[in-house]
Amino acid sequence: MNNRVVSEKPQAVYFYGTCLVDLFYPQAGISAIELLRREGVSVIYPQSQTCCGQPAWNSGYRDEALAVARAQLALFPRPIPVIIPSASCAGMMKVHYPALFRGQSDEATALNVAGRVYELTAFLVDVLDMRLTDLGDPVSVVVHTSCSARRELGVGDKLHTLLRQLRNVEILEPENSAECCGFGGTFAIKQPEISAAMTREKAATVRATGAQRLVSQDCGCLMNIGGAMEKQNQAMPGQHIAELLWERTKK
């Protein structure tokens, strides 16, 4: 992990919302931006952003992934951090763009952008050293750390660092917490039976904690686990970490 830590707090950052947040979880994006701005960081949201290209990359369609990724590269000309409220998409840009753009004419730009990418919670903790005061009512949350945060980026603990500052939040871990939730992007469509079996087991362990809410740094996992619990008529509200943090600390 070459999570290059910016020694000083930057004045401005780019915010890359991700397509999933854009369409299904905009509140996560808005909350993340509010958190950043409260820390005195101004946020630039390039309106031409779409998707990082990960679905095609993981499905073997490299030309298509490259076309989409290339359209994103142009969005971050200034030498400031790119903040992404998803470890999965941050991992795509940080870890996989260098491989995707290898040998391409814009490889240098891709490497430059990859070097500036931060997953949101890692940025809030490592760069901004964000301090939080809990203003909310007591609540118990079960944490699902995404595989990308835990293993690909090695930032799985940042979510806990933030949550532990909230005195009225009880943090619960599901049994077998390091196990993948079974989403895996197009895996859920290509291997629906295995995906369903994994998701059901994850949903069961999440539910068994008895928590009031499910929290993650990745909306893909929330959509998957939350969708499974809903299907079983045992819905548990799922929230992106940014949304929970903003909701409980805004004045």
Partner: protein, 476 residues
Amino acid sequence: MTTDFRSNVAQALKQDAVQTHFRTVVDRLRAHRQAALAGDAAFEQLRNRCAAIRADAIRRLPQLLEQFESKAQRNGIQVHWAETTLQANRIVLDIMQRHRATFLVKGKSMVSEEMGVNAFLQSHGIDCLETDLGEFIVQLAGEKPAHIIVPAIHKNRREIAHLMHGHFSELPYSEDIETLAQSARHFMRDKFHAASVGLTGVNFMVAETGTLCLVENEGNGRMCSTVPPVHIAVTGIEKVIARLDDLPPLLNLLTRSATGQPITAYVNMINSPRRPDDKDGPDEVHLILLDNGRSRIAGDPELLKTLHCIRCGACINHCPVYRQIGGHAYGTVIPGPIGAILEPQKQGLDAATGELPQASTLCGACAEVCPVRIPIPAIINRLRWESVRKNQQSQNSRPVVPGAGSRRRPLEAAIWKIWAWCCSHPGIYNRLTKLATRLRNRLPAGMGAWTVARKAPKPARSTLHESLRTMDIDHE
């Protein structure tokens, strides 16, 4: 066993008891590994060292194999090269026939499974007896191993008791593990003495000394390699390492990653046939070196990492997919993540096993535990690309991976093209996402494979793009 992955999976997932059993056993194996690594601050350095040892060995594969061959031959080991499994089987048969042997005792060997040597010899009137307890159980059941370290991982104690009782009806029925093991042991003892040929696998070949190293826990490997007058060792060419000094760190890492043991009960170092002063040992030692696609894999700078594998099974034990479906569903000799990258490269992406690179969420658990740091998810990604890449027929060179491009479907390819076009045209993308938000209450509840186990997600009232237009931020 069928070879169609999807139907194997459906079958495996129908059997709740099997699934529960698998989960319990792999969780135990994970815990054993965890306990064996606990408090070892130098573990990551050990991994680095072993990864470097394996990378160096595969990089210098032809040279090390030649060195090994000349050392082993000087020690009196007869070295045979087999490009295909058929050639390897024929070499075994030839040795057996020269000794007029009609019976073979076998130690555990995944390469012998790859060769299908049991079936081959049987078709020539030669019986094989698996002497590793797990393999023995699998053989009694007429099945294949479901795991590379724990072949009978899919069998519970009661099933094993019934199997043993069915085959040795003179023995009283027992579910006691010690009793079952003793019964098998008793049965095998005579067979070791009766057999004129024993066959085993190999864990490592040491180039500088010509030594074969074989680790095991039951002593059956030692019996197979010392009691019969002829010992045949079979192995893949990638098992070579340069130096004897490379062995201790690799063994240390192998056993702890596999079963959590600090060392196996037996570590066999085989240098030669019986020498005049030796108390035991075979008169002849043969080594069959099987290629079967390995040298082709070694030719690609990324894919060759597949050959670094030391067959510990840690990736299998930590794979959430394996945990759900078990070993047989893969329809391969080697299951789990390492099987999912190795088998398609050997058999081709157009074979049934070509589906296996899809059997991963890319969660990274395999790479996290791999003792020699094989980047399994990256190789899966590469193979997915190879599966659907446009045909390279215009070039004269043969594809690096057999069957490359064979899984490209026109409809799927078209969908990705359209997707890419939309996502690289922000105006189109925004119009589509906006449309989805407007139709949020009218979208179908059923969304194919997704909604089998989940409710369909509902688009938000307005997209993040839209919401932020009214927020006081810089849109650049």
